[in-house]
C-alpha cells in the first residue's frame, strides 16, 4: 500500500506520520508539497498536524486554498482514503470534506496530554483493526480542538455512524471530565458520509511505538492498511462529502 503525507510549510507532524508509516507500519510513503497540483500514484493521503500556514485567521483556513487541496478534493471524490490528524482534521473541515468545525478549546489553553479514545464503530476504513469499544491511548496537542456541529448535523452523524472516536476516561466512559477540549458529545474524530475521509484531533502517530510507551494508536494506520488489502473500495459517486 502506498501513502502520501502532505507537507504545508508549517506542518510539523509530517515527519512523524512518515516515520510511522514507513518504519513501523512498513508501507511505502512519500511527501507531497503544498504547491503541487497532483498527488501522484497513491492509495491514501495523510493530512498531518502542525500549523499549515501559521494558522492565522483560523486553523486550516488558508490551507484549504492551497493547490494540493484541490488534488485532495478530487482524490476523495473518487473514493480515495484521506485521514486528517489534528491540524489536518481542521483543514478537512474547513474544506468541507468533513462536517462540523473545530473551535477554541473550552479552557482557552493549548492542551498537550494523553487521552483515551473509544472506538465507536469497527466497520470503518479507519477503525477496522479495532473492535467497537476498544480503547486507544494517545496524545492530543492543540489549541482549537473543540469539535462543533449543529444539532441537525449531529443527528446526521449519529444516524450514519460517522462518529469514529470519542474521548473517554480510562474505563471507556465518555464523561465531562474526560473531555479535554469541550467537544460536543466528546467527539474526537469523525468520517464523511461515504466513509473514505476521516479526521481526528488526537495523534495516533505519536502512540505507535514501544519506545514511546504506547502502541495502541497504530490501530488507525493498520485499519487503513487492512481496508486496502481487503480489496474493498469506495464508490466514487457517493464519496463527495
Amino acid at each position: 500500500m502506498k501513502f502520501v503525507v502532505l507537507q504545508f510549510p508549517g506542518s510539523n507532524c509530517d515527519q512523524d506520520c512518515f516515520h510511522v508509516i514507513r518504519n513501523v507500519l512498513g508501507c511505502s510513503v512519500s511527501y507531497v508539497w503544498h504547491k503541487d497540483t497532483s498527488l501522484g500514484e497513491t492509495d491514501a493521503v495523510i493530512v498531518p498536524g502542525g500549523f499549515s500556514y501559521g494558522d492565522y485567521l483560523r486553523s486550516g483556513a488558508i490551507a484549504k486554498c492551497s493547490p494540493v487541496m484541490s488534488a485532495v478534493h478530487d482524490f476523495a471524490s473518487q473514493g480515495g482514503l484521506v485521514l486528517g490528524i489534528c491540524n489536518g482534521f481542521q483543514i478537512l473541515t474547513e474544506t468541507g470534506l468533513l462536517p462540523g468545525a473545530l473551535v477554541r478549546n473550552r479552557d482557552l489553553q493549548f492542551v498537550c496530554e494523553h487521552v483515551y479514545l473509544r472506538v465507536e464503530q469497527e466497520s470503518s476504513a479507519f477503525t477496522g483493526a479495532s473492535r467497537t469499544g476498544d480503547l486507544i491511548r494517545c496524545p492530543i496537542a492543540h489549541m482549537d480542538g473543540c469539535y462543533y456541529i449543529d444539532s441537525d448535523g449531529l443527528r446526521e452523524l449519529r444516524a450514519n455512524n460517522q462518529v469514529l472516536w470519542t474521548y473517554t476516561d480510562r474505563d471507556g466512559a465518555a464523561t465531562p471530565a474526560s473531555n479535554p477540549n469541550g467537544s460536543i458529545h466528546n467527539i474526537a474524530g469523525v468520517c464523511n458520509r461515504a466513509g473514505n475521509v476521516a479526521g481526528l484531533m488526537p495523534h495516533p502517530e505519536r502512540a505507535a511505538e514501544d519506545i514511546l510507551g504506547e502502541e495502541s494508536g497504530l490501530a488507525v494506520f493498520k485499519s487503513m492498511l487492512a481496508f486496502h488489502q481487503s480489496g474493498k473500495a469506495f464508490n466514487a459517486a457517493s464519496s463527495a462529502s
Binding site: N12, F51, Q109, F110, V111, C112, H114, A141, I211
Partner: protein
C-alpha cells in the same frame, strides 16, 4: 535629515561611560556619528560583550574530547555523541523583555535560542526552560506567569519543537523581575557544522526573513539596565513580536541551503540585529563587510540608518554565499516563499562599512568593534546580609511535632515550587517529532535522535546510524546561591549532573545562564564571582565542559536584586536505551533504597539551611545550604549508573527540593504520568536513625536537603546483589517497600503518619491550577 550632535547626555543615554567613549574615539580616530554610537553601544553592552563577566567566565572548562565547537566560538557549542552524530545546545535569557510584555518577551526568547541552534547547521529537536516568578498570591505575578507560559507555548508549539522539560520556582525576590531562560538542543551530522564567518572576499551577503521594523530598538542595551517602573513603562514599545511560523520557514530554508554547499557563512540577527551579525561574521573571518541599507527590506517608512542597524525585528538571518551560486540560494528562498535581499558583500578591508542613501553612515573596524569591548574587573565585597543569615542557628527554629508531619508533607507537595508543573507543560507540545521518550515530570527528560531528527543531506543522501538517546535537565537554586554563592553555584552543577545520572545517563556537557543583579554593586558582584567559581570547580570535577551560555545582569526591581540564580542546563548520553530510568514507582513488593555517601562534611543546619521546607514553614532564608562534597557526589553517581547498567534499578529519583520525604512522595504520586502504565503506587517508608540521619531532628530527617542522595527502586531479590557490590564511600540503606494505596511513614519502626495517595496526588497535581484559577 539632520544628525543629532553627540553630547555627553546622548552618550550616557546609550549606557556608555566617558572612558568607553574615549576608546570609541580612539578606535575611529575621530568622533562617531549617531549611527556609529548606537552600534558601539549595543556591541559593548553586557549582553553582547560580556564586559563585566568575561574574565570570570574564563575559569570555566570548555574542552573535552567531545567538543567540536567550544564556548564563545560561535552561536552555540557542539558536542560529538558518536557514530557521526553531534548535538548543539545552549540556554539564553529573555528576562527583561518578559517583564515588560510576558507573552511576546518569552516567545521571542524561544525564537532566539532556536535560531542560535539552526544557525549552527543543526535541526532543533527539543527545548526546555527555567522560569522564576514572585509569589502566585499576587495577581500581577499570575499575569506574568500566564503570559510567559503561553508565549513559550505559542512559539515552540507552532515552530514544532517539543518543550520537553523545565523548572519553575516561585519566590518573592523575583517579583517584578521574572526569569525566563530558554534552552534548545539540535542534532546534526559532524560534517554539517555551519560557521558564522564572512569568508571569501567578494562573496555576496544576503538578508533573509521578514522586513525590518522599529521593533525592539536597542533591546540588547535595554537588557543591560536595571529595570525600574519607569523603564518598564517607557520601553513597552521596545519588545519584539515573534512569528514562529516565519521562523519555521527560515529554519527549513537555512538547512536546505546549507545542504547545497553554497553557503560560506551564516549568522542569525538576534540581539543588536544587523549590527552584531555583520561585524561578528567579518571579525571571525578576519575580513571586512560592506552593506547598503537601501537594500534592506523595511516595514516602516522613513527609517533612519540608526534604526535599521539597531532594530531587533525577529526571524532574520544573514547569509554569506559563495560567489556564483546565488541562483541555488534564490531557488530555496522561493520554495519557502521567504523575503530575501542581497544587501552587500565581503571585503578585504577589515572594516564594517554601512551605506544609506548614497552616504557612508558607519565605517568601523569590525574586529575592534566585536572583540575590543572594554573588560572590567569589578569591585567585589562579601555582602553584609551574609553575617545576618549565618548568625542564626537552627536551634532557634522549632522542630516539627509528630502530629504536624501529616500537614507538613501536604503543604510541601502543594507548595508551587515543589508542586507538579502540569499546568505549565500541558500547554507545551512536549511530544511533537516523536522523539520524547521521557516526558516532563521525571528527573531528566530523554529525547531520541533518529534519522528524521537530522538536517537534510546533499542530493537526498541517507545515512544510517544507531538511534541515540540524550538526557537533559535544567537546574538552579537561587536561595542556596543567596546564602552561599560559591556552594550554590557548585550545587547547581552537581544537582543537574545528579539528575542526569539518576536517569541512567552520563553528563557530557553543560550550558549555563547566570541571572544576577547589578555588577556595579560590589556585594552583587561578589555573588556572581563566587557562583562562577563554584560552578567552575564542579564542572572541572565532573570533567564536563561548559559549551556556552548567557549572562543576564541587572536583574532587579524597585524592591532590590533577585536572589542570584545560576541556571545549569546539563546534557547526558545513554550507552543503551535499556538504561533509561524514570522516577515513578513501578511494582508492588519492590524495595526502596537510599543511596548516599558514607561520610558527610559538617553541616550545622542539618540540611535545613536554605531548604524549601525552612522557607515554606518558617518564612526565613537562613543558614547555609548543606555542603556538597564533589568526590562523594561522583561516587554516588557512579554507583547508581552501574546498578542501572546492571539492570537492577526500576525507578530512580534524586533528593532535592523538599528533601527525602518529598522525594519519596514524588516517586509515588508522579506515576500517573507514566506513558505505559499510569498508576499510583504507595510506599511503606521506615526511616531509621543511622548514618547521616543519626540523632537528627524530625524536620531535618524528613525535609532536610542533604546533597548527593538518590533513591532507587529495586526488586527484592536484587537487594543482595546491590549491597554485595557496593563501592567504597557509598552506602545503600533500605528505607521502604512499594505497594498499597497509601504512603505510610515510620521512624525507628514506630508509625508516625499515613497519607491517602489519591489525596496527596490531588494536592500535588492541582496546586498551581488552583492558584491560577483563584
Amino acid at each position: 535629515m539632520t544628525e543629532p550632535t553627540i553630547t555627553p547626555e546622548i552618550v550616557r543615554k546609550h549606557g556608555l561611560t566617558d572612558e568607553e567613549y574615549r576608546q570609541i574615539q580612539q578606535i575611529l580616530g575621530r568622533e562617531p556619528n549617531i549611527t556609529e554610537l548606537g552600534i558601539f553601544s549595543v556591541m559593548w553592552s553586557e549582553h553582547c560583550s560580556y564586559k563585566n563577566t568575561r574574565k570570570l567566565l574564563k575559569s570555566f572548562p570548555t574542552r573535552s574530547e567531545r567538543v567540536l565547537v567550544a564556548a564563545g566560538e560561535e552561536n552555540a557549542g557542539i558536542l560529538d555523541i558518536g557514530d557521526g552524530v553531534a548535538i548543539a545546545f545552549k540556554i539564553e535569557s529573555h528576562n527583561h523583555p518578559s517583564a515588560v510584555e510576558p507573552f511576546q518577551g518569552a516567545a521571542t526568547g524561544v525564537g532566539g535560542i532556536l535560531r542560535d541552534i539552526f544557525t549552527m547547521g543543526a535541526r532543533p529537536i527539543c527545548a526546555m526552560n527555567s522560569l522564576r516568578f514572585g509569589s502566585l498570591d499576587s495577581a500581577e505575578v499570575r499575569r506574568l506567569f500566564r503570559g510567559v507560559v503561553s508565549g513559550i507555548a505559542h512559539y515552540g508549539n507552532c515552530f514544532g519543537v517539543p518543550t520537553i522539560a523545565g523548572e519553575v520556582c516561585f519566590d518573592r525576590s523575583y517579583e517584578g523581575n521574572p526569569l525566563v531562560n530558554a534552552f534548545a538542543l539540535g542534532a546534526l551530522y559532524t560534517d554539517q557544522i555551519a560557521r558564522g564567518a564572512a569568508r571569501g572576499v567578494g562573496n555576496p551577503v544576503f538578508y533573509v526573513g521578514p522586513a525590518t521594523g522599529r521593533d525592539g530598538l536597542a533591546g540588547a542595551a535595554f537588557a543591560s539596565q536595571d529595570l525600574t517602573e519607569e523603564s518598564a513603562e517607557q520601553q513597552r514599545g521596545a519588545v519584539q513580536v515573534g512569528d514562529p511560523f516565519m521562523e519555521k520557514l527560515v529554519m527549513e530554508a537555512c538547512l536546505e541551503l546549507l545542504a547545497t554547499g553554497a553557503v560560506a557563512g551564516i549568522q542569525d540577527m538576534g540581539a543588536a540585529g544587523l549590527t552584531c551579525s555583520t561585524c561578528e561574521t567579518a571579525s571571525r573571518a578576519g575580513t571586512g563587510i560592506e552593506i547598503e541599507l537601501d537594500l534592506v527590506p523595511q516595514r516602516a517608512p522613513g527609517m533612519s540608518s540608526y534604526e535599521i542597524m539597531l532594530s531587533e525585528s525577529q526571524e532574520r538571518m544573514l547569509i554569506i554565499v559563495h560567489k556564483g551560486r546565488e541562483e541555488e540560494v534564490r531557488k530555496v528562498f522561493e520554495k519557502w516563499d521567504l523575503p530575501w535581499s542581497r544587501v552587500g558583500e565581503v571585503t578585504d578591508t577589515g572594516q564594517m562599512v554601512v551605506r544609506h542613501h548614497g552616504e557612508i553612515v558607519a565605517d568601523i573596524s569590525a574586529c575592534r568593534l566585536a572583540d575590543e569591548a572594554p573588560l572590567y574587573d569589578r569591585e567585589s565585597r562579601e555582602p553584609e546580609y551574609l553575617t545576618k543569615t549565618r548568625s542564626l542557628s537552627v536551634d532557634q527554629i522549632p522542630d516539627l511535632k509528630p502530629d504536624e508531619i501529616g500537614g507538613a508533607l501536604e503543604a510541601c507537595l502543594a507548595w508551587p515550587t515543589i508542586a507538579s508543573k502540569n499546568w505549565v507543560y500541558r500547554q507545551y507540545d512536549h511530544m511533537v517529532r516523536n522523539g520524547s521518550v521521557v516526558l516532563p515530570g521525571s528527573d531528566a527528560a530523554v529525547i531520541r535522535i533518529k534519522q528524521d531528527s537530522m538536517p537534510v543531506l546533499p542530493n537526498g543522501e541517507v545515512r544510517d546510524f544507531p538511534e541515540k538517546f540524550v538526557a537533559m535537565t535544567v537546574d538552579g537554586n537561587g536561595i542556596y546561591t543567596y546564602l552561599d554563592p560559591y556552594e550554590g553555584g557548585k550545587i547547581a552543577v552537581a544537582e543537574a549532573v545528579r539528575n542526569i545520572a539518576a536517569s541512567g545517563a552520563t553528563a557530557i556537557g553543560v550550558t549555563d545562564n547566570l541571572n544576577f543583579g547589578n555588577p556595579h554593586n560590589p556585594e552583587l558582584f561578589f555573588q556572581l564571582e563566587q557562583a562562577i567559581a563554584g560552578m567552575s570547580e564542579a564542572c572541572r570535577h565532573f570533567g564536563i565542559p561548559v559549551t556556552g551560555g548567557n549572562v543576564s545582569l541587572y536583574n532587579q526591581s524597585p524592591n532590590g536584586a533577585i536572589d542570584p540564580t545560576p541556571v545549569v542546563g546539563a546534557v547526558g548520553i545513554f550507552e543503551s536505551r535499556d538504561h533509561i530510568v524514570t522516577q515513578w514507582l513501578k511494582k508492588e513488593g519492590n524495595v526502596l533504597i537510599l543511596v548516599e555517601p558514607s561520610e558527610w562534611d559538617a553541616d550545622p543546619w542539618f540540611g535545613l539551611g536554605g531548604a524549601a521546607f525552612t522557607l515554606m514553614r518558617h518564612r526565613i532564608k537562613a543558614g547555609r545550604p548543606s555542603p556538597c562534597n564533589l568526590d562523594r557526589e561522583s561516587l554516588v553517581h557512579r554507583a547508581v549508573r552501574q546498578w542501572i547498567a546492571d539492570g537492577l534499578v526500576q525507578a530512580s529519583h534524586d533528593c532535592s527540593d523538599g528533601g527525602l520525604l518529598v522525594a519519596v512522595a514524588e516517586m509515588a504520586v508522579s506515576g500517573m504520568v507514566a506513558r505505559n502504565h499510569p498508576q499510583l503506587l504507595g510506599v511503606s517508608l521506615d526511616l531509621n536513625s543511622a548514618g547521616a540521619t543519626s540523632g537528627l531532628r524530625t524536620d531535618s530527617l524528613l525535609f532536610g536537603e542533604l546533597q548527593s542522595r538518590i533513591i532507587i527502586e529495586v526488586a527484592p531479590d536484587a537487594v543482595e546483589q546491590l549491597t554485595d557490590g557496593i563501592p567504597a564511600g557509598v552506602v545503600s540503606r533500605r528505607i521502604g517497600v512499594v505497594g498499597g494505596g497509601r504512603l505510610d511513614l515510620s521512624i525507628d519502626t514506630s508509625h508516625v503518619a499515613s497519607w491517602d495517595l489519591n489525596s496527596l496526588h490531588h494536592r500535588w497535581w492541582n496546586a498551581i491550577a488552583e492558584k491560577m484559577d483563584a
